[in-house]
């Protein structure tokens, strides 16, 4: 079975950011880029499934301009078999990404698509769900545990535990399916030096949106980005009565 893992190159999670002067977006004070943490977790899960012999080939895919290739090197170092780069200079929004991934998934006859639940730059949390809808595949988002059930060889199933607001939900679904990874699914391994060196020498396949038959039309326009308002300092209250009074009159929550 082939697995498709989509990885996104984002500003490193540890880097401080600030709102741009023209309020059109966010800029990093120290633009260190790395793989989206949830995508890394998804890729680690794919590698573990391959180690358990459920998966024959892992395809890592990223989308964007030329500069995003280093995230594919990281993916190859972690254990991906092939790396695909869909080259596009345009802004790629979740729907466009989902359409491109759907085209690749069909072309490569993929059995499972593993994505991160969301990217830490836009926090959209949409691509996985849209991908499933476009492909008409079952989906399990916010996965914290993934098991493959091969009791019926012709019909492989995935048993996924999801983290939902109320607790944990376990779903069983036929493959092919889309699964998006949440934080507690696993801890990604470290790319050892020999693997990093080998990854540098590997080939990255390049694709264009035209060759996949997808037209990229942005559906959303960012109007304004603002920094969150500064938190006011807390105040101490002298007794419970005053607390209730202030919650009722000032904060208006009671």
């Amino acid at each position: 079975m082939k697995i498709l893992v989509a990885v996104k190159r984002v500003i490193d999670y540890a880097v401080p950011v600030r709102v741009k002067a023209d309020k059109s977006g966010v800029e990093a004070l120290l633009p260190k880029m790395s793989m989206n943490p949830f995508c890394e977790i998804a890729l680690e899960e794919a590698v573990r499934l391959k180690e358990k012999k459920f998966v024959s080939e892992i395809l890592a895919i990223t989308l964007g301009p030329a500069g995003v290739q280093d995230v594919l090197r990281h993916a190859l170092g972690l254990g991906a078999d092939r790396a695909l780069h869909v080259v596009s200079e345009q802004e790629l929004q979740p729907l466009a990404v989902a359409r491109l991934l759907a085209a690749v998934a069909k072309r490569e006859s993929v059995g499972l698509a593993l994505l991160g639940k969301q990217a830490i730059d836009d926090d959209s949390n949409q691509t996985g769900q849209m991908l499933a809808a476009l492909l008409d595949w079952p989906q399990a988002t916010f996965a914290s545990k993934v098991e493959i059930d091969t009791s019926v060889p012709s019909k492989m199933r995935a048993v996924v535990t999801r983290e939902v607001d109320g607790g944990l939900q376990t779903l069983s679904m036929e493959l092919p399916a889309v699964i998006t990874a949440d934080l507690r699914l696993n801890t990604p391994r470290f790319v050892s030096l020999p693997n990093a060196i080998k990854a540098k020498k590997r080939q990255i396949e390049q694709l264009s949106p035209d060759s996949l038959g997808v037209e990229i039309v942005p559906q959303l326009r960012t109007v304004e980005v603002n920094a969150p308002p500064l938190r006011n300092a807390g105040t101490r209250v002298s007794n419970v009565a005053e607390l209730v009074e202030r919650l009722h009159n000032e904060a208006r929550v009671l």
């Binding site: 004070l29 391994r189 060196i197």
Partner: protein, 619 residues
């Protein structure tokens, strides 16, 4: 002799021979010899991706292209990427860069664009007053460029990669590898995924051995592996100890009206007293950025000196604040630098490798410039390595020997060529012999430049600020660096700290960060981008865990909690009244001040898990 003694004797003999066997057959130091590490082989390994390391790598590859040879070069860098651990003023003298890339000016992406156009020098008499002094001699920067050294290193890194250098960032050199003959054969990279208690985590990955015929150590000031090599090979036998300073720096983005691109300002005086060597700088860079910082000599005496607060205070002086008023701080960082000059340069080469750049210590203190020296040392070692690995050095040595013998021999000439000394084949394998590097550095402008300024810094230490400035003037314009004496450094920095009982504590009670011009430490650390995986053993080790309480705190009031620019060290009083040293290793900026200044040299800085540490982008 009793049977018991015989047994003990034979036992110790057995132990002796076992150790010899061990050293004979295992090519690594004991801690890694029993582990099955993977080994990667290169011709040349360079530890540290700074200006010296990258210049050496580039030079070797350029010579390979020129003379059609193939030498594999690997640069290993502990920072997340090239440049992320680089911090420097920086007004770059391009002498060495011109030698490396004669055409650098025509490269469209080179980050060296702002020429220094205005030099200013101020003596800050108090927190509000100042006198302008002539910016002459080493403080005159015509022809130099104001740059961000992290950006320059990133550019050099790309050039190196395009020449075929393998650049591995995010991997730290943990231990030096030696062979059975005591020669350096490479380094081991650190293990990844070790928990705080020493156990292996899920993500555990064993470090690898990077083996090479020539290993160059370009770790910067007080490099951890370099210091171990200096001890092992006694490289300081005929040199003095190194002396250091700590530089704290910030880069600000300022309104266009404040920005005066090309301005270079240096200050002395406030906030340090006349007995403490120190000075500040303000450089107006490209794109509305201003770099500013304070350098404090680590031979300071008062254990209550808080380097971070001194730096923040200095920014409030009218001469300084007018440069950054209304701006935003983009980045903060700190790093130690060498001040020892010529007197402190150790022997550079040892079997299988050499020290270059600030690991050796070529900084020109009066100019406060070390980059051009570091790059030149990289170029010289690159040439030496190329000659050693291609047999040119052996051939040249054989030729010199032939000429020498011919001079000594009788007048009857031998048939042409028959008396030529044949170079040995030893250069073809095994650790490279880089001993011709010493001569090359002696003959180069590195030594010439350092010789002319060798007395200036030691004089400040002996005479204080004002006489020191006068002496610097006399040394530069009267003696022109040719005075017949050379001052010595006297006591090392860590021995200069006076006990708390002999000092008046410096008061910082009036200092409160205002978030506009002055920062508080947590905010500053956030802006340095520094981060380490918290679940790893502390990379700051104590040789004796009882010393901080007994000596550092009891006698000196815990100076590490004050000089560390990252707030790593804190003393907490426990319930039983005893002082406990808490080490917040996660904050570490890799400046090495603690390794240098700790009075009993109890704190040892080691490399943490690779990829951690600061994330300098414009420093």
């Amino acid at each position: 002799m009793s049977i018991l003694r015989l047994r003990c004797l034979s036992h110790s003999l057995l132990y002796q021979s076992e150790r010899t066997l061990h050293e004979r057959f295992f090519a690594t130091v004991p801690t890694s010899s029993h582990l099955n590490r993977e080994a990667l082989n290169y011709d040349v390994l360079i530890v540290g991706g700074g200006p010296a390391g990258l210049s050496a790598a580039i030079k070797i590859k350029q010579l390979c292209e020129e003379k059609e040879k193939d030498i594999s070069v690997c640069v290993v860098e502990k920072g997340g990427e090239i440049g992320s651990h680089i911090l420097s003023g920086n007004v770059l003298e391009t002498k060495a860069l011109d030698e490396l890339f004669a055409d650098w000016r025509s490269c469209p992406d080179v980050p060296i664009k702002v020429p220094a156009s205005k030099d200013r020098f101020y003596y800050l008499a108090s927190s509000s007053s100042s006198f302008r002094l002539p910016a002459i001699g080493p403080l005159h920067n015509k022809g130099n460029y104001i740059v961000s050294l992290s950006e320059v290193c990133r550019w050099l890194g790309k050039r190196a990669e395009s020449l075929g250098v393998e650049v591995l960032s995010g991997y730290s050199g943990k231990e030096v590898l030696y062979n059975w003959n005591g020669a350096v054969v490479g380094v081991t990279t650190g293990d990844h995924g070790v928990a705080k208690d020493g156990s292996r985590k899920e993500t555990f990955s064993l470090g690898v051995e990077l083996r090479a015929r020539a290993t160059l150590f370009a770790e910067g000031c007080r490099g951890s592996l370099s210091e171990s090599l200096i001890k092992r090979y006694n490289l300081r036998e005929s040199a003095e100890h190194q002396t250091y300073a700590l530089g704290l720096k910030e880069v600000w983005e300022v309104p266009t009206s404040q920005h005066k691109e090309g301005t270079v300002i240096h200050t002395v005086g406030y906030p340090t007293d006349h007995g403490t060597y120190g000075g500040g700088f303000v450089y107006h860079m490209a794109d509305n950025k201003v770099a500013l910082g304070l350098v404090i000599g680590l031979d300071y005496k008062n254990p209550t000196l808080n380097t971070f607060k001194e730096f923040q205070r200095w920014k409030l002086h009218p001469v300084i604040r007018q440069n950054i008023e209304g701006g935003t701080c983009l980045q903060y960082g700190a790093r130690t630098l060498n001040e020892g000059g010529l007197q402190s340069i150790p022997k550079l080469s040892f079997p299988g490798g050499a020290l270059i750049g600030c690991s050796a210590g070529f900084l020109n203190v009066p100019k406060i410039k070390g980059t051009h020296m570091a790059m030149k040392s990289g170029i010289l070692v690159g040439e030496a390595v190329f000659r050693a690995l291609t047999g040119e050095a052996a051939a040249a040595a054989a030729e010199a020997e032939t000429i020498k013998r011919r001079r000594e021999v009788s007048l009857v000439p031998a048939p042409a060529g028959s008396d030529a000394v044949v170079p040995s084949e030893a250069w073809k394998k095994g650790p490279a012999d880089l001993s011709e590097l010493e001569g090359a550095v002696q003959r180069s402008w590195i030594t010439e430049e350092l010789h002319s300024v060798r007395n200036i810094r030691p004089a400040f230490s002996m005479l204080g600020l004002i006489p020191g400035l006068l002496h610097a003037f006399i040394e530069t314009y009267v003696f022109r660096g040719k005075a017949p004496w050379t001052f010595s450094h006297r006591a090392p920095d860590h021995e200069r700290t006076q006990p708390l009982s002999e000092c008046t504590p410096i008061s910082y009670s009036d200092f409160k960060p205002d978030a506009k011009l002055t920062l508080d430490l947590p905010r500053a650390l956030y802006l340095s981008g520094t981060n380490h995986d918290h679940d790893q053993p502390s990379h700051l080790t104590l040789r004796d865990p009882g010393v901080p309480e007994r000596v550092n705190h009891a006698q000196f009031g815990g100076p590490e909690s004050k000089y560390c620019p990252a707030g790593v060290y804190e003393y907490r009083e426990e319930a039983n009244g005893r002082q406990h040293l808490v080490i917040n290793a996660q904050n570490c900026l890799h400046c090495k001040a603690c390794d240098i200044k700790d009075s009993t040299q109890n704190i040892k800085w080691t490399t943490p898990q690779g990829g951690g540490g600061p994330n300098y982008k414009v420093m």
